[in-house]
């Protein structure tokens, strides 16, 4: 037996087999004039020059050759790896924007009803999915009269319901538990100024609710929408943001912001910082997925990690170090779950933005927030794997008729009133 070494591939061959091969080009292999494309291992490449050096015609058995060749190709595990697996081939000499194959979907999305949640970066994902005509679900759309500029002030059009930012896995699982009545937190409201805010989304409205009754009505409606959302959607995309969270010492309820920041009063006797571990995150997400699947057996999940570093840490660590801990834990947990469960996919938005090969080009000057170009690049990778539907979903905004067609008759009366009294306009 001899061997031929070409590039990264080690090809073993017997003198006897190799002598019966005729090689016109490295990828045009024939034996006695018969093409060997069918049945030839895909990643088996040959060097014309090398084979020619051992060429010596003699009887040939095609079956034996293919069997032998297949066996020869798995002599080491990298031999069958695609180009994307090799730094040199997919990264090394490439412009960062030309790096491809970041993501290989586990399953197609097609027209699946999609819901999104997560830290602030997740807002971009939902917005882009909707713009590209995916079946994005919004259970709490903005009420008609509200101007578009104010949507976010009232928590509309950010995610699939008005839950605001969900930074941690603990917050996510508790949201669903609260919606299902499985968890009733001790903190029902926080006082802010002269009103009341929802501790679990304290910035969802620009001003506090006037009464506890008003807050309760809004909270009940929101949680009903969350229940309906999980029954309706079949793909839940969650962007993991942080591991740090503020929790009630009494019942473990986790809040999106520290008590005292947007309502309530911080006291160390009542609240504490928690910093979720890898195990914590996995347990939270597994619990969440189990609950969600109990509501909807068709539910699948896609996890991403936000590339936006922590704005501040409440630990003793320096903020970059604390941020790296958070992201590492979240990335590892998401990867673990994607490897473990067929219904969990991982989309590498974190890597696409924050990998060192990207030269930080997608961060704004604050080196924290992601630029629109970055969002676009991330979503381009996503859409290259999940082709946007050709047609917009049924819930897409209908074309607005011209204003004169929408004027109520009562407004026409206004014109009549003016014309009657003041006459035709000059």
């Amino acid at each position: 037996m001899g061997y031929i070494l070409q590039d990264d591939l080690l090809i073993l061959a017997t003198q006897k087999t190799a002598r019966h091969l005729t090689l016109d080009t490295p990828h045009s292999l024939t034996a006695h004039g018969v093409p060997l494309d069918v049945g030839r291992p895909k990643n088996l490449t040959f060097s014309t020059r090398a084979f020619n050096s051992t060429y010596n015609p003699c009887p040939f058995n095609l079956f034996n050759f293919v069997t032998l060749a297949s066996a020869m190709t798995i002599k080491h595990p990298y031999q069958t790896q695609p180009d994307k697996a090799f730094w040199k081939k997919n990264v090394g000499n490439h412009d960062p924007l030309d790096i491809t194959e970041w993501y290989s979907p586990k399953y197609p999305i097609n027209n699946s009803p999609i819901a999104t949640a997560g830290s602030c970066f997740a807002q971009h994902i939902g917005k882009k999915l909707k713009a590209q005509g995916f079946n994005f679900i919004d259970m709490e759309p903005a009420p008609g009269p509200l101007d578009e500029e104010s949507y976010h002030d009232f928590g509309y059009h950010m995610y699939s319901a008005r839950y605001g930012n969900i930074y941690s896995s603990r917050q996510l699982v508790q949201l669903l538990e609260r919606a299902l009545g499985k968890f009733v937190p001790v903190d029902k409201y926080w006082i802010k100024d002269d009103g009341f805010v929802d501790p679990f989304r304290p910035t969802i409205e620009p001003e506090p609710y006037l009464s506890q009754d008003e807050l309760n009505a809004h909270q009940d409606h929101h949680l009903a929408c969350v229940r309906a959302l999980f029954k309706k959607t079949t793909l839940f995309i969650f962007t993991l943001g942080l591991t740090e969270a503020w929790a009630s010492k009494e019942d473990g309820a986790v809040f999106p912001v520290a008590p005292g920041v947007a309502g309530g009063i911080y006291t160390p006797e009542k609240y504490q910082l928690i910093n979720l571990s890898y195990v914590d995150v996995i347990k939270d997400l597994e619990k969440f997925m189990k609950l969600a699947r109990q509501l909807n057996r068709k539910m699948r999940f896609m996890f991403t990690v936000s590339p936006v570093p922590l704005m501040a840490t409440a630990t003793t660590e320096q903020v970059i170090v604390a941020s790296q801990y958070s992201k590492s834990v979240l990335r590892a947990a998401a990867g673990h779950l994607a490897n473990k469960y067929a219904l969990v996919d991982y989309f590498p938005s974190y890597e696409i933005i924050s990998s060192h090969v990207m030269r930080s080009q997608f961060y704004n000057p604050d080196m924290r927030t992601v630029s629109q170009a970055g969002v676009h690049h991330v979503m381009t990778q996503f859409f290259s794997a999940h082709t946007p539907p050709a047609q917009r979903p049924a819930f897409a905004k209908k074309k607005q008729p011209p204003l004169h067609e929408t004027r109520p008759n009562a407004d026409v009366h206004c014109d009549e009133e003016l014309l009657t009294v003041f006459g035709e306009q000059p």
Binding site: E140, P143, P145, S150, A217
Partner: protein
């Protein structure tokens, strides 16, 4: 004292009343009224002027035919006071039948989408944003302003057949309270619809409905005369301006 009354379509019945009162010599000699509209209320809820620093240039062709700018250009006359009708006209918000079938400001919400007080105040100010900007501009230029309240809801308004009456009352009152609060903060007086025109629930008495039976929200001449008298009463208690 020279007074210009301008604003939305409710200026129409004020003008009718003014002409009638003039004919019957019911106007005081000390006040010289001019009533010229801008445009209908729905058009005032869209951009209708350009802030030129010293004045608002009416950019809507519809309004510019009656008034080209506010304050009125000096070569067209001087007015000591400007009465504005429009900021307290609430019907645009509460008459949206399909919307109020799904949403409610009331508690409990009974399955409808609850709307917070903050949200409602926001959309009221959004509806009035251009008139509010105009008022701010006029104040910035030391123009003396007062606001004239529009009629309260009429019970014959078709919206009452499809919208919960409690919602209409709530929205009408919240709308007026929101704008009253804003105007009061800026020291702007309001000439209110007097209690004699309103029933116990806050609706206009049918005696003051427009002569056109299909008109859902304008008052009639009798109402206009009542409002003109209220305006005169308000103006008469103001210090007499120096003649210019």
């Amino acid at each position: 004292m020279k007074v210009l009354i301008t604003g939305d379509s409710h200026t129409g019945i004020l003008k009718t009343a003014l002409d009638s009162m003039h004919h019957h010599a019911l106007l005081p000699d000390t006040i010289d009224f001019s009533i010229r509209p801008l445009m209908g209320g729905d058009r005032l809820s869209q951009p209708f002027f350009i802030d030129q620093g010293t004045h608002a240039l009416i950019s809507s062709d519809y309004g510019a035919s009656w008034i080209k700018q506010l304050p009125i250009a000096e070569d067209e006359g001087f007015f000591n006071y400007y009465g504005i009708s429009g900021p307290l006209h609430t019907v645009r918000l509460w008459r949206q039948g399909p919307f109020w079938k799904k949403h409610t400001p009331l508690l409990p919400s009974h399955g409808a989408v609850p709307l917070s007080t903050a949200f409602l105040r926001h959309i009221v100010k959004q509806d009035q944003q251009y008139l509010m900007q105009l008022i701010a501009l006029l104040q910035r230029n030391n123009t003396q302003i007062f606001v004239i309240e529009a009629p309260r809801p009429f019970v014959h308004n078709p919206a009452l057949k499809v919208i919960d009456i409690d919602i209409i009352i709530y929205i009408d009152q919240l709308y007026r309270a929101t704008l009253r609060s804003w105007l009061t903060e800026r020291g702007i007086a309001i000439v209110n619809v007097p209690a004699q025109c309103i029933d116990s629930e806050g609706f206009m008495l049918s005696a003051y409905r427009h002569d056109n039976p299909n008109d859902p929200h304008h008052g009639n001449q009798a109402f206009g005369e009542i409002m003109m008298k209220e305006i005169i009463r308000y103006l008469q208690q103001l210090p007499t301006p120096h003649l210019i």
